[in-house]
Assembly symmetry: C2
Homo-oligomer: 211 residues x 2
């Protein structure tokens, strides 16, 4: 049943969830169809039905999917029925932005701790949180059984911080450092490097040096 679902399918579920919540917010309808969802997301309806079929039968022939019900089911599948506390490592500009981001609420996450190694930043308040010393990293994470961390530290210390996080029990890492991190098999890492994303797009652009 729940055996061996492809990562690529899991990867699309949060996108479906986000669009469904958008639909729910619009309050125009109680149900939607794979066709409508597909059209809004630029995905084929067959793919959406196939993806969902890995987890059960959530729709009704003729009417489609009850939006709120499907939202609940997806939240359950993705383990989002309660809030995950997240450790934020790094209190620079980007750490600041993440600590102040209010998009985590109601989507399953809450920044619970912020760490930095800069004495000038330790003790400073950031959106209700007090920046802690990086020395307290392991103790805090272990005591609270924190499983998720966001890394916004310079590239040259990212691997060291990652190793400490993994040792302390973290199993999911979102990294903004522009390097490939080495982690054990049971740990998942997701990367965000704006430069890499833009470099992918410049391939399709005509370079302006033709003058």
């Amino acid at each position: 049943m729940t055996t061996e679902i492809p990562d690529i399918v899991i990867g699309r579920l949060p996108i479906y969830l986000r669009e469904l919540r958008q639909l729910a917010r619009e309050e125009k309808q109680l149900t939607t169809s794979s066709h409508e969802l597909g059209r809004r997301l630029g995905i084929s309806s067959a793919q959406i039905r196939k993806d969902l079929s890995h987890f059960g039968e959530f729709g009704k022939q003729g009417t489609g999917y009850h939006i709120k019900y499907l939202i609940e089911q997806l939240q359950q599948i993705l383990h989002l029925t309660q809030e995950w506390p997240v450790a934020l490592i790094g209190a620079g500009y980007l750490g600041h932005a993440i600590a102040h981001y209010n998009g985590f609420q109601h989507r399953g996450f809450r920044i619970a701790w912020v760490f930095d190694n800069d004495p000038a930043k330790i003790g400073v308040e950031m959106n209700g949180l007090t920046v802690q010393s990086i020395d307290e990293l392991e103790e805090t994470i272990q005591q609270n059984h924190t499983k998720i961390a966001i890394i916004v530290v310079p590239a040259n210390v990212a691997q060291k911080i990652t190793d400490r996080l993994v040792t302390a029990g973290v199993e999911s890492i979102l990294s903004y450092a522009p390097i490939n991190l080495k982690v054990p098999n049971h740990v998942h890492v997701s990367y965000s490097d704006p430069v890499v994303q833009m470099q992918q797009m410049t391939y399709y652009l005509q370079p302006p040096n033709s003058r």
Copy 2:
């Protein structure tokens, strides 16, 4: 020759480039192999060779790839031989972080303009740039032939801003707004939503409600 190269191949080139520059920085060797690169990136050597073969022959049997030469070739393929000016839309916390990010230098990009609609922010200096009124968006982009924009505005105005950017001539957009954007076929959009990335990972986590 250069016909119909899969997007997924293009997507990996910046990762190869990043790792190659890392290798160059280490200054331990002049050449590398598809095996070494693959080991460092967690990618098969065959895939790396296959990907590169779409664009030409860059290696030598027995010795591998000359690092600096391959870097130059990848930069040329990705149109990174000169700096692309980038328009940043939104001067909130995240816009602030991006404006201060020094990771763009030497990787092909330079934040050239920052826009916001908040009168309190217009005129403020951000890392050497002066925040401009969003009213000047079209004129600035058209006059400078800007092709790339980064969107860090609230979700509810992201589509409107996108439409304006596209009309003004932008063809590559990196969006941090948590919504799917509609654009014409010739425009490329890349998304960054930390919540979506974390939601993909929670699937693999054991929920802690088992108490």
